[in-house]
Each structure stands twice: as structure tokens, then as C-alpha cells.
Symmetry: C2
Subunit: 196 residues, 2 copies
């Protein structure tokens, strides 16, 4: 199982945004949407062995986490607008303490970044994707892997502190500084090549 945790530092949690304005009004939700695309899409199928956690930290209803579960997903299309619509639909659901299902394979909860990490650390190895890490091509990878990354902003000092409690390694993907969705594409390819 591959898991990706992406922090949307300003991403809206209320669902009160226009589909024409996912960059501005929705707090760079476009970045997270492209991460969903990179995580799941192959040419003729969806990766069923992937799970994505979008940690939304913007707006009055923060934090919320949207979980995409590959083996249950339906109605996911590669364009940004349709994924924005699925996320908005999830944010408009009433959610109390427990995670609820918004649509097939898409869940919403009030969990914070720290709560998600505590849950995930029980079932796999947490890896932080950052420019100054070890080259992923030189690192041994096995088992269930959880990759953590930021949106268009780096993790804050406090987020890095929380992550450092759980993460075993910091990995980089090459000599340049890549967009988050491009990072996910590169990780997926590396794991495909290793048959993981």
C-alpha cells in the first residue's frame, strides 16, 4: 500500500468556493487536486493500492481531512474541475467526531495532521519528501510506505517537529525543487520500478 499525506496550508474547509476559482478562493486547492491526479491515475486505470490524505487547514472549519481510498474510488476524472467538485461535495457534508463517507472512496473527517500521522505510523513507514533529503533512488524501500509533503508551501517548523516524531527518513527526488504533484508522480514511478 502506498499512502500520500499532503498538507493544504490555506485550503478551504467550508466548501464555500466556486469551481472556477480553486486557486484563489479555495486557498490553492488546485495544488491538492493535482496531487490526487498524480497519485491515482494510470493510462487506463486507477491505482487501487493508493490512499491519499489531504489535510485542509484553511477557512473557518479547519482542520479537516479528505481521504481518498483507491480501491473504492468511483467518479474520479483527471481534470481539476471535476475533482474540485468531489472535494467541495465532501466539505459540504455535516461531519461531527467520526469520519463519514461523502461519495464512493472519498471520506471526510475533522482529523488534524498530527492525528493522521499518529494513526498512520501504526501501519507503515513514514517518509518526508523534501529537497535536502537522501536521494530516493539510493534508499531501500519496502512494506507499506507513507509519503508526507507540503502543498505550494513547505511544512512549518511545528509541522516538521510533529512529523519528526514519526518519520524514519527524509527523501529527495532529484536536483530540482518540484511541485507536489510532480513529486508524487516520481515516487509512484520509483515504486513501480521496484515492484512495490
Amino acid at each position: 500500500m502506498r499512502r500520500f499525506v499532503i498538507i493544504g496550508h490555506r485550503a478551504d474547509t467550508t466548501g464555500n468556493f466556486k469551481l472556477d476559482d480553486v486557486c484563489g478562493g479555495a486557498g490553492r486547492l488546485d495544488v491538492l487536486i493535482r496531487c490526487v491526479n498524480s497519485a491515482f491515475f494510470l493510462s487506463h486505470s486507477i491505482r487501487r493500492d493508493v490512499e491519499v490524505f489531504l489535510i485542509l487547514q484553511g477557512g473557518e472549519d479547519a482542520p479537516k481531512t479528505i481521504r481518498f481510498c483507491g480501491d473504492e474510488l468511483r467518479y474520479l476524472n483527471p481534470d481539476e474541475r471535476s475533482t474540485a467538485s468531489l472535494i467541495r461535495n465532501a466539505l459540504l457534508k455535516k461531519v461531527a467526531e467520526k469520519e463519514i463517507r461523502a461519495s464512493p472512496g472519498i471520506y471526510v473527517s475533522r482529523k488534524s495532521f498530527e492525528e493522521i500521522l499518529v494513526d498512520l505510523a501504526k501501519g507503515g513507514e513514514l517518509l518526508y519528501l523534501k529537497e535536502n533529503g537522501k536521494d530516493i533512488r539510493d534508499v531501500r524501500l519496502e512494506g507499506d510506505l507513507i509519503f508526507v509533503l507540503g502543498d505550494d508551501r513547505d511544512l512549518s517548523k511545528e509541522e516538521e517537529r510533529i512529523l519528526s516524531v514519526h518519520a524514519s527518513e527524509t527523501l529527495s527526488l532529484g536536483p530540482a525543487s518540484y511541485h507536489s504533484d510532480h513529486c508524487i508522480t516520481l515516487v509512484n514511478n520509483e515504486l513501480d520500478r521496484r515492484g512495490l
Copy 2:
């Protein structure tokens, strides 16, 4: 210099489409837009050493080629909607025999796939990206490289025949079949790693 040539088999050439409907009404223009994103964007900059050719073959005004020139580009944002707007703007310009400039770094012409390949073959090595090619990690790469790929559809037999006249090699990017924009991300990373 890195160049990417992507064929949009049904992509609209008239500019007569809505920005809310780049998948359907614009003939899967969304695929090409994501390719532009992957080709140019780094975290805090645009790749100036990249040129992209979108070969649009759909609609009543086909063929048209939109050329994105990295070292002149301005007003390019990573979200799909804003790039769709730049492309529509280019398609709405009146273009006769000669290529014209639609906006900074974006040019439109009536050139066909074959004409573009003939031009490009003079100045670099043409490489075809396809699942059954040689693994890019095992191939020596140098000089000016031109990567050719399809949109959500493979190249037709006729397009493959035209390409075979000019291409030196067919390359693959891993054991899975990837979306075109993900292929471009993987190529850029491989070239970054080699300092090309």
C-alpha cells in the same frame, strides 16, 4: 534545450469552447494543458530551457500548432483553467501561413505534425515515448532532445510512420502505462539528474 511534442488528436482548433468544459467540448484539451504544466513548472520558477509543441488536430480549423517557448513565457499559471484561457486566446487569433505570436511566449501556426517534425529534426534528436521502448534510465542522452508523445490516445499508424522517418529511438519510462503529463514529469526529472 528540451522539447516536447504532444499530439492532441481531437483537441479543438477553433477556440470555440467553454473554459468549464475543456475535457468534453475542447476535445480533451485538459490532457495537453497538464502536459504544459509538467513541462514548465518547477517549485519557484519556470523552466526556461523548454519548448512545447501542442499539435491540435480536432475541429474545423485543423491542424494548428501552439508553441510554448519557455524563455519568453509570462502569465503561465499552474492551474488548468488559466492555461486553457491562454490556448483559447491563441486559437481565436487570425493565422494565415506564417506563425504568429498570441501572447508572450505563446505562438500559433497552421503547421501539421509532419511539418513540425521536419523542422525539429534539423536541430536535435527525436525520441518517441511509448510503453514498449528502451528504458530511459539505460539510454545515453545528450544534446538537444525532442520527445514525442500522444495525448490520451496512442499515435495512429500513419503518425507512427511519419515519426519513424525522424526518430532515433523509442523510450519507455517504467513498467506502467502513464498519462502524458506524468511522462513529461519523469523525463524532466531524468534530464535534471543527468545535468542536461
